[in-house]
Symmetry: C2
Subunit: 309 residues, 2 copies
């Protein structure tokens, strides 16, 4: 089993009520790959500038992630994002975005990356996502996006969505995309665009899964130590798709989809405990297992004797 | 077992994207009592005006609710609330509030109401909540409140909270009350004020329960037909406390608390399906049982084989 992710590799400057970092490794492909690496073999496709440090590449390779398709653009600078969070950590405020090497990015997939079993199209320009999908022979593809593309490249985004098996999106963006305020109805409208699996990411409130046969919802873990939510959604996607790839995404069943949601939530919960990649890069598999048990304890209930009158 | 609720009995004018009603039965005590009546004997304490209709009183008595402590104020008018909801049904916009008989309300508890096993102090002036608590011999008391009292009567509210076993509050209000952005820490701060049980109501996202020994979180049911969220929080409280009273709130254990959360969520999910009390007043116990099964199906997952690497 193997999983290819295309997306941003970035330096982030982030300030939250709990601290700040002026320049740290980030980006959708990085957060995704680190989380997914706990479950399967991951290959990253994306551009960096000449300023990209060997120590940052090592964060990926130390987790066994294949980085051969990370392309260093001569004379280029790595994608840079600056943002902050206030009291409500569900809302990221963007202060600066420098596309740098991403402005001219044309993804090139090696044969190994193109032939992975699962493909994750991280949040980039929808037409690029379509190009990558067309170049890949993955039997299962998933896509993330954002409000910017819903507003500025809607037709391309809808076409890209029509070419994948699974859409992961924030719940507010699902509503925006479908102009449907009810989440279950919005998910149904997305399934009519093509994907048979829709995952609504709900920040600290957890996530919900919709297929034609099933609906599943989980709360977020009630973490007391939240430092920085940046990358939580990508860590969720990494845990979700990493687990699905590990059990065979093409032949998955409802139970496995539910377990994938739990692993996604668990990986996101680690992500937010420290800045950027700092928590997940030092995570042990035993900690993942332990937190799945915590998650079960948080959400489990016994059948009630129904003393209704 | 028996349960007394003190709170508003109201006429509401509500407009949502899915319809509107110019004048319908509402109020925290009404929504609470209807939901709780599926589990235990409920007594309502509160004032109405001379305009309060016999057909509205019958909505309560037909569910077996004791209305002897509903006081008709001579020459008075019933509490009136007007509000609307836009695309985001989690946010109620208040357009008009006429306290009417509530402006001078002094709760009087009959001996039967005072000696109920469980007392619910619906969202009214904190000093009135304290008076009712002092007049009641209930072994278990719970309280709801709102941002208005946090802002205008904070000291009284904190004192009232210190005199109950359980606080139910919206998550944003828990944060506001404790000045703590992290929900788990906010709940801990509330427990230090007195209550050993804290329930965070999270609107469509469900609810979370905190005690010294336990944390439990549930998503909301993913209802496609949402007409009017007014009263959902009180219906949650009614299902929650009604179930607790039915099993003995004074000697409850963690499993029962979790089941109570599920019943609360189920009753809230019915409440939102139609305007005001229209859905719950015609609900059958078998529908409650069926929806508990739906809820289990929505949230259940099997232990995952941990193929982490």
């Amino acid at each position: 089993m193997s999983l290819t992710v295309v997306g941003s590799i970035a330096y982030d400057a982030v300030k939250t009520p709990f601290g700040e970092r002026e320049r740290m490794l980030g980006g959708s492909a990085v957060h995704f790959a680190l989380a997914a690496s706990f479950f399967t073999q991951v290959r990253v496709v994306g551009p960096v500038g000449e300023d990209f440090g060997a120590e940052d590449l090592a964060v990926l390779t130390e987790r066994g992630i294949e980085t051969g398709d990370i392309e260093t653009i001569e004379g280029g600078k790595t994608f840079f994002w600056q943002g902050h969070y206030e009291h409500d950590l569900n809302v990221a405020h963007t202060d600066d975005t420098q596309l740098n090497v991403f402005a001219e990015f044309e993804p090139k997939l090696s044969e190994a990356s193109a032939s992975s079993d699962v493909l994750f199209l991280g949040n980039i320009v929808p037409d690029l996502q379509r190009n990558v999908r067309a170049a890949s022979s993955a039997g299962f593809a998933a896509l993330d996006s954002m409000n910017l593309w819903i507003e500025t490249a809607r037709d391309s985004l809808v076409a890209a969505i029509g070419e994948v098996d699974c859409l992961l999106l924030n719940d507010a963006e699902l509503r925006q995309l479908t102009d449907e305020s009810n989440l279950a109805k919005a998910a149904r409208a997305v399934r009519e665009m093509g994907p048979r699996i829709v995952v609504a990411k709900r920040g600290e409130y957890g996530a919900a899964l919709f297929t034609d046969d099933d609906a599943f919802a989980i709360p977020g873990l009630l973490i007391e130590e939240v430092a920085d939510p940046t990358g939580a959604g990508d860590s969720f996607a990494g845990g979700f798709l990493g687990y699905l790839d590990s059990v065979g995404a093409e032949s998955l069943n409802g139970d496995e989809l539910r377990r994938a949601m739990v692993f996604g939530s668990v990986m996101a919960s680690f992500n937010v405990e420290d800045f950027g990649t700092e928590r997940v890069r030092s995570l042990e598999p035993s900690e993942v297992e332990s937190r799945v048990a915590d998650f079960k304890s948080l959400t489990h209930f016994n059948d009630a004797p129904l003393a209704t009158s």
